[in-house]
Symmetry: D3
Subunit: 163 residues, 6 copies
């Protein structure tokens, strides 16, 4: 990895980094996160599949839309043309939390990590929004990159995800 | 608190809840979150104040803009006219993380919790973006509401923040 | 009703009409529309409720988000703070179409008709998008205002909806 | 055509479909729609060319901008870089309606049908907005794809448009 | 006027200023600007009224839409609900330039100067865009506030506009 | 250069020009502009570097974000995928103004001039916004293209910038 920030120039001014010399390669990033909540809240989400109101279906759409809004939200992100966005949710009853995973893909000169992380974050915020009437003490956490592939800097895996 | 989700109607269909009967009152919400990282990364951010590139200044702007985009990101949020947004960052060297706090305020028929949480989330994502060239293993976490005031449901405080 | 266009000034130039003298009153608008399709396509949507992929849940979210984007889409629309948006879908098997109805509400100086019509239009486009792999010949139609209430010009009902 | 929805995965969850394996080819789509209105309203629009306020000029700009906003409006649409958007209006006095046609073009891995349909829809909504002070009973309809070309699934024409 | 910047707090950090204690009053702002160009370019715009392509009609729509996007463009601007936006263009043949004026109005806790200036800027950029194929040397200038009224700080007039 | 407007078709109707036949080449554009102000205001900005609030850091972020929003602001602009955006500010004490320069880069079928000009305009508006509490008489001006390279029409330089 680099040992300096790439989003500032030599004078310390923020820049949208010049990626025009980079190759266009297929890039994939996977990210994860979670929303911890009371067991009762998790149980209500679980019942949602059966027509009591599907929290996760709304969060999934919000996460996909959020990935597309990434360059609008993150000041120095390049605009990208995502070729795929996928979100998955797992209800973890043991730890009383919803686990979120995203996977984004595109062919471009720059990576797709921020899109994957933004998809998870917006999905998590949407879950909070939809459940906050019953549980204001929920906590969004564990948002991190799981892996990335493609691009000059090579593949990368979170320590617990190394192949 | 309610014991059912308010964002679905009796048939389980998502709705933007009717708030037209609610009073217009002043509402304040405070939220927090953090970005955990390697000590070296935190040290680089710390040096940023002295003209090596100010990561937190960029994240602060992104967080304020993020609060304004909340109804665009969270499907069932009402459009709101924020009257104040403020973000604060603390470098916690003991735990090697940046701590983020936001405070949002407005006069409206509905609360401003989601704006405060979105401000923290977008600021955290921006910190990740600006530091990812040196540290891809950072983790965004501890995103939660600290307190809210105003509105029919009364004031609320996170357990460790009760007055 | 007026007998001239209000969105142009005396010289014929487009303006965002000055509504500052109007009263703030509660305003409600209802709109409708439909998407005609092959009976097989309608049957596939019907099965969607049972975990084959819920087209209407996605269209509902898109319609609610679309209502919020109305001032961004329609050049001379005023920005508004919607206090409620609701969409309903009915599967009309006799005529092989999905019927869409929306209801928008707010307290403002200007009406909410365009938001209701935009919600229906965006929901219809989303249905088209999600079904186009199986049926490209679908037709979106019958998009119209059903009723409006509130505001200086008084209540209005579509001819077949008069009370 | 496919006999299943492509916007859901095997579990019935919505996804932004992976198009990364598709070829980049030139793609063109044409769509149409109409706004039916009172003859007097149509006559007022007709006079608009002569400096009484040009409804169709505003609707044309709105439609072009609408095409660009398509991935923001339609949840599972891919972001695209349109290389051309064109809208045409025809005043049909016999049937007392404005007829709208759009044509969108790009080189991409996915088609441009939704952009063409969105352009027509937003133009139609803008016509409604600009004329609603004189005619609230207008109806937007007949929004459909006329043809598409390019891409793996080959060319497609509406039944009455086959070459 | 103040003798310090209001968009930074005591520590020098950017904030969206708290306006919640301010009165809601009617506020009006007028701004101006110009686009200088070759006489031939100005002549082409002048002919535009007569169906050769109306540059100013497009710029007017862009300026009105631009005013609405102001809080999205200017990081520390409050979201506002404009009640009126108006743009006027004057062809100044003596100085070979298009003169632009805007007027924005709303009832709010904060002023509408930035909306008026943004309307002028976006209209000017649109004129540049539409004429750049024939004249790349155009210059946008003289963008300034002409007057503002309403609000605690009282009325203000540009020196040459004092009543 | 052309001797007619390219953004209108033969009938004088606005179009998003078809660029699908153009080559994809690397394109660079540089633009400039300034904000004239009282010497005291300029002095306050100059002190900003030393933790009194950094006006130019905020304006730089706004300008970079503004470049990305160009196709949303300028009606007939093509959506583009910028590969680099850079803004520079110079405090000109002799003339009591902030000078702004931008440089945008991408590989595309159409030029990047509007993005460079929009970056400068939004940065200038942001400077105005942040200083308006102390100086409402500031003037934004001298916004112009300095140079462009790449594309069929060849390189272009402002008269005083010719190599």
């Amino acid at each position: 990895m680099s040992n300096e920030f790439t989003h500032f120039d030599a004078k310390g001014d923020a820049v949208m980094v010049d990626v025009s010399e980079k190759d266009i390669t297929e890039r994939i990033a996977e990210a994860a996160g979670s929303v911890s909540m009371k067991p009762e809240t998790l149980a209500m989400i679980a019942r949602g599949d059966h027509k009591k109101g599907d929290v996760l279906a709304v969060a999934r759409i919000a996460g996909i839309q959020g990935a597309k809004k990434c360059p609008d939200l993150i000041p120095l992100c390049h605009p990208l043309m995502l070729s795929s966005v996928k979100l998955e949710f797992q209800l973890n009853e043991a730890d009383s939390k919803v686990e979120i995973r995203s996977r984004c893909k595109l062919s471009a000169q720059t990576g797709v990590e921020m899109e994957a992380l933004t998809a998870v974050s917006v999905a998590a915020l949407t879950i909070y929004d939809m459940c906050k009437a019953v549980d204001k003490g929920m906590e969004i956490g564990e948002i991190r990159l799981l892996s990335k592939s493609g691009g000059r800097s090579g593949d990368w895996f979170a320590e617990d995800k190394a192949p």
